[in-house]
């Protein structure tokens, strides 16, 4: 039964979830948990919060399953929910006037354990981790909209039209956001060359 459902589209799995099919919901979650988690993580830069918000995203998916309209792609729909949660989280964090970046012990240690490559020397691994941290900082320095557009394009490979639907703006606005985001990143990441 599980194997049969695994070949079903996300849109159809949502329809089954609306009918109360928990197995369909589980497959849906497992299919999209990584992308949702990492969209949030790259956007807010906090691993623990990213996991909480990813859970919250799927809670909302479950609750809203019977209102889901299959004319929209499922990924566009779930990314809209995710983007809204991220924005709300940032608003709350700015309200507290303290936005913590991950500390060295917490972030780098986990990523090196997860992504260690036997062919890479320890120096290469350290360098890759350092660059990852610099990229993360550079992304966090971008304005919210630019950051979201860039993450959706670079890491989720959404089209401009899809990003526009997620962010509820025009395609030309998405293009403009990406031009500015890339320019800002170029200025921040120029240190890689030094």
């Amino acid at each position: 039964m599980t194997k049969k459902l695994e070949s079903v589209s996300s849109e159809d799995l949502m329809a089954k979830t609306a009918g109360g099919d928990e197995l369909a919901f589980e497959i849906l979650v497992r299919r999209h948990e990584t992308s949702v988690l990492n969209l949030i993580y790259r956007y807010i830069g906090d691993r623990t919060k990213a996991r909480d918000l990813a859970q919250e995203t799927f809670v909302r998916v479950w609750r809203a399953a019977d209102r889901y309209q299959p004319k929209a792609k499922f990924t566009t729909w779930i990314y809209s929910i995710t983007a809204n949660l991220c924005l709300n989280e940032l608003r709350l964090a700015k309200g507290k006037k303290f936005i913590p970046l991950e500390t060295e012990g917490e972030g780098e240690k986990e990523s090196s354990e997860t992504h260690s490559d036997a062919s890479q020397s320890p120096e290469d691994l350290l360098l890759a981790e350092e660059r990852g941290r610099q990229v993360s900082e550079a992304l966090q320095s971008l304005p919210d909209s630019q950051r979201m557009a860039l993450i959706l394009k670079r890491y989720e490979n959404l089209s401009y039209a899809e990003i526009a639907k997620v962010m509820e703006c025009s395609v030309s606005a998405v293009e403009s956001l990406l031009v500015r985001a890339k320019k800002n990143l170029q200025e921040k990441l120029i240190l890689f060359e030094r």
């Binding site: 009918g19 979650v29 859970q55 809670v59 399953a65 209102r67």
Partner: protein, 165 residues
């Protein structure tokens, strides 16, 4: 294509969002223009560097924790039986029809109420003073009925004018 035009399109070119003919023109320009090619190479370097930000895996117990969260959550799902209501009213033709029906019904009932007010007013005319009846019954461009308040006023006004002459 000129360099400035190409540079304005480099981001969309990189993202694969140009129309085929535009993509072809930019591609052709990049082959022949070193300045634009270098600029594009810088953009590609940044794009590749973003790959250093590795993704994190979800925890193995992610789904289990999610189920627990859903079960603990006090907010129930909306009953499946009401889904058809949302779907029905979300259709554009339904919304337009309801709007038009509302306007027509409002006009109909409004006319009925206005007519009923006139009739009741006319029936109550006898209860109003003669002067009030004259004023309300007066139509603007009809000749002023002789012997009425309006007629006396007009006579006074015209005699006043004659005096001034």
């Amino acid at each position: 294509m000129k360099c400035r035009q190409v540079q304005n399109k480099l981001s969309a070119f990189q993202d694969g969002e140009l129309r085929p003919e535009e993509h072809e023109k930019v591609s052709k320009h990049l082959k022949s223009c070193m300045a634009c090619r270098e600029r594009y190479a810088e953009m590609e370097k940044v794009w590749q560097a973003l790959g250093y930000f590795k993704e994190i895996p979800p925890e193995p117990e992610f789904y289990g924790q999610l189920v627990k969260k859903i079960n603990e959550s006090p907010e129930p799902r909306s009953p499946a039986g009401f889904q058809w209501v949302f779907q029905f009213f979300s259709a554009p033709w339904v919304t337009s029809s309801l709007l038009i029906a509302g306007i027509l019904m409002g006009t109909f009932f409004g006319n009925m109420l206005v007519k009923s007010d006139l009739i009741s007013f006319q029936q109550n005319q006898a209860a109003h003073s003669q002067a009030a009846v004259e004023v309300f019954s007066l139509k603007a461009f009809d000749p002023i009925p002789p012997g009425t308040l309006g007629d006396r006023y007009m006579r006074m006004a015209s005699s006043g004018e004659e005096g001034r002459r």
